[in-house]
Subunit: 150 residues, 2 copies
Amino acid sequence: MFKIFYEDLVIGQKETFGSYKVTREEVIDFASKYDPQPFHLDDEAAKKSVFGALCASGWHTSAMMMRMMVDHMKDKGIAGLGSPGLDGVEWKKPVFPGDILSVEGETTAKRDSASRPNIGLVKSTYTVRNQKGETVMIMRGNAMMAKRPK
Amino acid sequence: MFKIFYEDLVIGQKETFGSYKVTREEVIDFASKYDPQPFHLDDEAAKKSVFGALCASGWHTSAMMMRMMVDHMKDKGIAGLGSPGLDGVEWKKPVFPGDILSVEGETTAKRDSASRPNIGLVKSTYTVRNQKGETVMIMRGNAMMAKRPK
């Protein structure tokens, strides 16, 4: 099932993928469960906030990005084995209901795992944009990838 | 409603809060929507993964942490105005169904906003632990906070 392994990734290579329609219902559902701050739940409170209108939790934007990343990995057969963490996240602009998000991923660094000979570690930068081409989020992430079976 | 403003935060001050029971149903529900990788959905696939058993998406752990943070902010009346991003996340150990998570937050830096005189910017480190006291996640975050009204 895996087709693209650690060895296949090229530094500087970019890929664009995903098309995620942000709905008001989902923004409020996610925020109700995980980030019940007024500007993610209530139109009037959001108008008075720094965001200006009801907008998605940054963690919800991150989760929507992840869904696009996993769908892309499955489509391409990318041998992802999970992530030990992130080097940084910037939530650059609010994400509003009605926005359509997509992702650009760029491989920025790779190295062999010191402890696991069949695994490599990859650094990538993911830029999430809305339908106007505005960058709403940048995430610099780390991932474990399987090496090609010998 | 706000009681604790930017001026009240002290560098090095720590607070522990939250008690979030991780359920199998919620792990699978979150993963189905946002991170449908086999080790977050399927017991057999998870056993063969680096995690050893079905575990929560790191983004789900982040979301559960955020819920504890927002509940804590509301309890204490902390004047949080949202976040421009994170300086880093480490997912240190897998989070399993049945785990009970809590958070320790420490204020690490603060400065006035250059552009908004009524806002301050705060850096904090959040350590998420399970019921055994094991650190499962560390997040270094940035937040906007309201200054005390004059």
